[in-house]
């Protein structure tokens, strides 16, 4: 194995892509050659840094702008469909008018169609206003469908996105709320559960949410989630939460930060 070839193999070796025989060969060479080992070690550090590099999250405005743009495109599409119908009628009228043999009939049809077209034009603005309202409704229901479908995905990042979509909803209905509660109670990923908990924090005016938060408090193991729930219940001045917070305090595994928050919360609620 020449030197360049060997260095190429080091990347594959670190990434575990070499056949077992070559892997053993590289291991021997690394044990014998100090310079080669240094090269290997540096490559390993760089590859690990690449592997561990994190992803940033775009601002919510990206999502807002996208859905506005989508709504505009749908309006344009709907208008284009109307214009299409308009031009078909107009072209038909023209072809009849050009036919000298049936001039009288053509004239009367043209006059009739002209009236129809004028009427259509007056109605266009009205139709568009209704359409925009309908499109908005459709968009909300699409967001609901997308959210519910993403929540069922295997990938935690997909489920996290689903939770984030709930922030863009003008009004979350019970279907959305129940999906978020279900996620908070059952999702295997801590980050997804925490995100669901924070999303529910926007709907603490709903009794369904408050009841679910009270009920789940003692079931949650993650301290961050426990802290968020206590905070939400205290901010909502929910006295019914006191017994559950006390039960949480009796649990041995609860960390000190949560205990402090729980004691402070009970003090504020009493």
């Amino acid at each position: 194995m020449d030197n360049d070839n060997l260095k190429d193999k080091l990347v594959d070796f670190i990434e575990g892509k070499l056949p077992p025989q070559e892997e053993v060969e590289i291991q021997h060479l690394l044990a014998e050659d100090e310079e080669l080992f240094k090269e290997y070690d540096q490559l390993r550090i760089v590859l690990e840094s690449l592997e561990n590099s994190r992803e940033a999250t775009p601002d919510h405005s990206l999502s807002t702008h996208f859905y506005e743009m989508l709504s505009e495109e749908k309006t344009k599409q709907a208008s284009a469909n109307h214009l299409g119908k308009f031009s078909v009628i107009y072209n038909n009228a023209r072809s009849i008018w050009k036919n000298n043999l049936v001039v009288r009939i053509a004239a009367s049809i043209t006059i009739f169609l002209a009236g129809y077209i004028l009427d259509k034009n007056i109605q266009v603005e009205e139709i568009q206003t209704t359409e925009i309202a309908t499109l908005k409704e459709e968009l909300e229901s699409t967001k609901t469908l997308v959210m519910l479908s993403l929540l069922k995905q295997e990938s935690a990042s997909d489920r996290l996105q689903a939770v984030n979509i709930s922030y863009e909803m003008e009004e979350a209905d019970n279907q959305i709320i129940n999906a978020l509660i279900h996620t908070l109670n059952t999702d295997q990923n801590d980050n997804v559960r925490l995100a669901a908990c924070e999303a529910l924090g926007h709907y603490t005016d709903k009794p369904l949410v408050i009841n679910a938060l009270i009920e789940t408090l003692t079931q949650q193991q993650d301290p961050e989630i426990q802290l968020v729930i206590i905070d939400l219940l205290v901010k909502s001045k929910e006295k019914r939460a006191i017994p559950q917070i006390r039960t949480l305090l009796e649990t041995q595994e609860v960390i000190q930060t949560v205990r402090n928050k729980a004691n402070e919360g009970i003090g504020q609620l009493l």
Partner: protein, 179 residues
Amino acid sequence: MTDEKVMGDVSRGDLDKAAILFERYQGKMFNFFLKMTFERDLSQDMTQNLFLRMIKYRTSFNESLSFKSWIYQIARNVHYDHYRKLKGKFSKYTDLEAISDHLAHQGDDKEQIEREKSLHKAMTLLDEEQREILILSKFQKLKYHEIGKILNCSEGAVKVKIHRAIKKLKGLYFMVENN
């Protein structure tokens, strides 16, 4: 439902389905632009522009081909067009420090944070072609054959280019670390 099937429906006029692709890809595409430019606002604008193009040119999508390759090709064009308009000006990586700080998790030790910063700095010193191929492979986690389709070259050529880029990055990384 596969990306290709969803985009096929969008191209036939079912625009609502574009929301599914937006939710699946917005994070990935934002991070692609962010690592290319290290400018946050610009990356946000480029991501917005990308999805605008996806809808505008929806009828050009061929359902029998990969959606992923198609969307990354549009992303590369969005990036290229931005700098072409600026006639040869390149990113000044204005948010490099801020982005590195932001990405460094609070719970990380100092060494890990410094490594991430050195990595980002070294990435900006790579030439654009090498930076792009590493972003596609290591950050976007695309497979060699997928990158080959995007860059229009063979799987073997992709592998060679990635290995070269890693070696170059290694040199730059330790140069940054030692300064």
